[in-house]
Amino acid sequence: MNPSIGKPIDRVDGRLKVTGAATYAAEFPIKDLVYGVSITSTITKGRVKNIDSRQALKVPGVIGIMTSENSMQLHFPAGSDPSNGKFAEKDLLPLQNDRVFYGGQHIAIIVAETFEQAEQAAALVKVTYDEQPATIGIEKNITTAYKPASGLGGGEAQIKRGDVETAMLSAAVKTEETYTTPVYHHNAMEPHATIAQWEGDKLTVYDATQSVMGVKGLLAATLGIPAEKVQVYALYIGGGFGSKGFTWANTLLAPMAAKQFNRPVKLVLSRQQVFSAAGRRTQTIQKITLGADQTGKLSAIKHATTSETSFVDEFVETAGLATSMLYSSPNLDVSHELVRLNRGTPCPARAPGEAPGTYALEVAMDELAHQLKMDPLQLRLINHADMEEQKKKQFSEKSLKECYERGAEAIGWKNRKAEPGTLKEGNYLVGYGMATATYPANRSASTAKATLFANGNAEILCGTQDIGTGTYTVMTQVAADGFSLSPDKVKVKLGNSSYPKGAQSGGSQVSASVGPPIRAAALGVISKLINLAISDTASPLHGYKEEDIAADNGRIHLVKNPDKGETYSQVMTRQGLDKLEAQAKTNVSTRQQGPPTPAPAGSPEAKAEEESKTNKAVQEDEKTDRKDFAFHSFGAQFVKVLVDPDLGMIRIDKIVGVMDIGTVMNLKTATNQIMGGMIFGIGMALMENTQYDPNNGRVVTRDLAQYLVPVHADIPEIEVQFINKPDTFISPIGARGIGEIGITGITAAIANAIYNATGKRVRDLPITPDKLIA
C-alpha cells in the first residue's frame, strides 16, 4: 500500500464546510440559549462614570445587563504560555473595574432572549465617562519608547553579534533607510464567538479559538474552577491567523454572563468590535542599515524596530528576528522598542515579526543591490547563510538556493531589466522583483490517542484544532499511514479539550507537533495487535517475532510471505475485542532549551508519557539529536507587476513562490496555505491598513468596506512550487510548518517589482496609487 502522506487528497471536511454542516462556535443549537451583545467604550481613556440601562432593560426579552458593578470577580491567570491559556490583555480582565484603556473596550454585556432584542437594547444604553487625555500615535510618543526584556513567547528581543558600528565605518557600500508598516487586522471570516453553558459547576464552552487546551486552562484559572470541570469545543474554526491564539475577553464574558443570568449565553463580536477588542498586527517603524564590501558581501546588518503595544499587556512584533539568521554577516544588531498607546493589545498575526520584518529587510537588500549595480538575486546568493550564524548551528535542512533557481526560472527573471522604468507593455511599465521567505520551524510536545475498532476502522483523538488549514485532512493521512489503512477508514477528531493535549495552532507548529504522536499512537496500536496475533495459537502468525510481521491495508502478514497473515478484524474478533487503544506523547520542542518538562503526575498526559516509554516510534523520535540544529523553512518569492504610471494603478501579473518546507504532506492543502499567505502579502503590500483617528485615537476604518482585502480581480496567476525534501531531524514525518511562510518576503518582492517598474521606492506600506503619482 502506498503511503497516504504526500497524496493530494481532498479535504476530509470539505463537503461539511461547503454544505454548511460544519458547526462553528456560534452555531451549536443549545436549548434555552440567550444572546449577549457587548457594549464597548466610546472614549479612548478614562473611567466609566455611569451606565444608564433603564431604557434598555424595558425592551421586551431583555434579561439583564452585566457591568463591572455586578459582574463576577475573576482570578488573575498565572501563566502566559498560550498552550496553557494566555489571556491577551493580562491587566484588563473584562468588567473588573471602571477603567477604560482604549476605544472599543468591552464595558457591558446586554443579554436578551433574541439577538435582535439584545442589539436593540444595546443601542439604548447610555454611558457617561470621565474622560482623560489619551496617548495617541506612535510617532508623537516616540520619546516614550522602551526596550522590552523579551519577545514573543519569551524569545529574544535584542540580538547582537560582532561589532556593527566599527564594521559600518569601513563598509564600502552602505544603505540606511526607514520602512514603515501600518496596523493590519487579521479579519478572519469568522468573528470571535463564544457559547457558554453551565450545568451545575460544570462549564461547557464552544469557542472560536486556536487553542482548546489554552482556553480550558485559562477559564479554569480565571473562573477559579478545576480544569476537569471545563469542557471546550472548537470543532471548526473560520480562520484565526493569530487573532484567536491568545484568548480575548469574549471567551470569559460568555461564561460570566451565563453564570450571572443562569442561562447559556452566546456572544459573537461584530466585525466592528473585532477591530478593537481582538488583536491586530502592530504598526512598525523599522530602520535598517546594511554595510557591504564592493562584491556585495555583507559586513554589518542593523535592524531597529519600533512598534506599539497597549497599556494592559506587552506584545512585541519581533520584526528583526529573521534578520538575525537570514544572511551571513559577522556583525549584527537587531533591536526592538515599544511605545505604549491607548489601543487594544496587538497579538500575533500570520508570521508575527517575519511578515513586516522580511518586508523591510528584503527591500533594503534590493536597495543595496541597486546601489551595487548588482542583480538582487546575485546579492542573496553572495550572502547566503550556510549556517545559523547567531546560534552557531547547522540548519536541519536548507535548499534555499534551489528555491531561488526555480523561482527565477518560473517568473522569467532573465527578462528583468536592471534599470528601473525601462520595460513596457502597452500603457504599463513592467517590473520584476524578488525576495527571500523564511519562517522558523516549530515543534512542541503533543499527545494523541489512537483506537482501532473490530470492524477495521480507526480513530484518532487529539486536543489540537483545525483552524481551516487542513489539519483534519493531513492528520488523517498521517494516521492512515500509522495504522496502515486507507484514509477513508480513519476518523480524526480534534477541537475537544478532553482529548489528549495537542499543540496550539500557532507558530506553524501543528503538523510537526501532533503528526509524530498521532503516527506513534497508531503504530502503537498496530504493534499491540501484532503481539496479540503472535501470542494467539489460532493466528497464522502465532509464534513469529514482531520484526517479522508487517501491516498493510488493514492486514498483518509475514514480511517474507505476505500471503501468510490475517486482517485486523480477524485478530480482534477472535480475541473478543471491540477496540484496541494506544496513547503517545512526543516530548520534542524546538524552542525549549534543556530536557522537556514532564507532565503533571496523574494527568492524562502523564499516562501517555508512561505508555510512550515502550513505544518504538516515540523512542526513536525523541532519541534524535536536535540540539546542534536550527530549524527553519525557506523560500523564494518572485513577482512580475504592471504599473500604470500616470494613474498609479498596480496590477500584479504573476507571482511565484518556491518553498522549502520539508515533506509536502498533501500538495493541495500545502499549496492552499502558501497561496493564501501570498495573497495576504498582496493585501499587505497594496491595500490593507487600519486607520485610527488622529485626534482621538479610535479605529476609523472598521469594516470590510473600509478595510480593503484583495478580491479575485486583484489576484494574478499564482505558481507555488515545493522542494519537498524531508527534514529528518524535525520529525520522522519530515514536515516543517507551512501556515505562515507564504506571507513572508512576498510584500518585499512586490515592492521591489514596483521599484523595478517605476524607479519609485515606496518605503511606507501599503503602496497605493497616491504614493506612486506623488
Binding site: L647, R651, L686, R698, D703, Q706, L708, V711, D714, T768
Partner: protein, 327 residues
Amino acid sequence: MEPFKLIRVQDGQSAINATLTAGSKFIAGGTNMLDLMKLNIETPKQVIDINKLSLYQIEELPNGGIKIGALVKNSDLAYHPAIAKKYPVLSEALLSGASPQLRNMASVGGNLMQRTRCPYFYNADFVCNKRVPGSGCGAIAGYNRNNAILGTSAQCIATHPSDMCVAMAALGAIIHVQGVKGVKTIPFSEFHLLPGQTPHLEHNLRQGELITHVEIPPIAYAARSHYLKVRDRASYEFALTSAAVILDIQNGRILKSHIALGGIGTKPWRADLAEKVLNGAIANQQTYRAAAEAALSQAKGYKDNSFKIELAKRTLVRALTTTGGIS
C-alpha cells in the same frame, strides 16, 4: 436595529399613501438601506417595500432617449443592449460599481439615493453632521483620504459614492418623481444637494416622493463615451477618482462635450468648467490637460486627500484620451 413595521405595496399610489405614516422609508434592493439600519444610522418606524411596483421596464423613447424604471437592477441596466450601444458610459459606470451580487440587487432608484461612505458617518463612536446634525464633522480634522475635494463645506466633506450617478450627471438625466401632489421631473443637476450648512439633506425629494423613472435624453454622439474609475483595488471598491466622458468630435475638433467626475465631489460632479475648455477645441493632449486643470480649479484638498486633485486631473485626461483620441 430598531424594530420597524414592514409593509409591501403593489402600486405607486399605495406607496405614496403609506409614507403619510411618520418615519417611513422605502426599501428597494436593500443593499444600502439594510446596512444603515443595522448600524442604527437609519431608524425608520415603517419600511415600505416597493419591489412589487411595476417599475422594471427599460423603454426606448420615440425621441431616441431611454426611460428606465426605478426598480431596474443595476446589472440589467448595464447589460441592456440599447444602453450598452447608445450610452456605453452608463454601462461602464454601472459595471465598475460594487460586485455582481450587489448589482443584481441594487436598483436605479436606490443607487440615486445611496448615502456616503465617509467612515465617520458609519461609525457612531464619532461625531458627524450628516448623521447627527450639529454634532460636528469627524472627517475634516480626521482621516479623510476618501473624502471630497469639490463642493465641500465647513460642515461636511463627504463624497457622493455612486458611479452610476456620475454617468447620469454627464448624460443630463431627468428624474421622474411621483408624490402626493402628482408627478414631476427633476433635472439631474438639481437632484443632489451640496452639503452647505445642512449636510443631512442630500437630495431634492420631499417626504412621500417616489422615484418612478430616470430618463436619459437622446444624445446622438453618446456612443462615443467612456467611464474610467481609479481605486485602491481592482474591483468591489468605490472610486478614488473617476471620470465620465462623452465627446462629439468631428474632424479632430470637439463640438460638444459632457464631463462628470466621481470620487471627488460632495455630489455627482458635472464639470462644466472642463466642458467650456473642450467645446470647440482641438482634440489633443493640451486641450485635455487644460480641461482637467479647469475641472479641478476650485478643488480644495484636505490632510489625506490632496493627492486626489492631481489624480482626478490625470483620470480625466486619460478618459478623454481614450474617448477622443489625439488628433
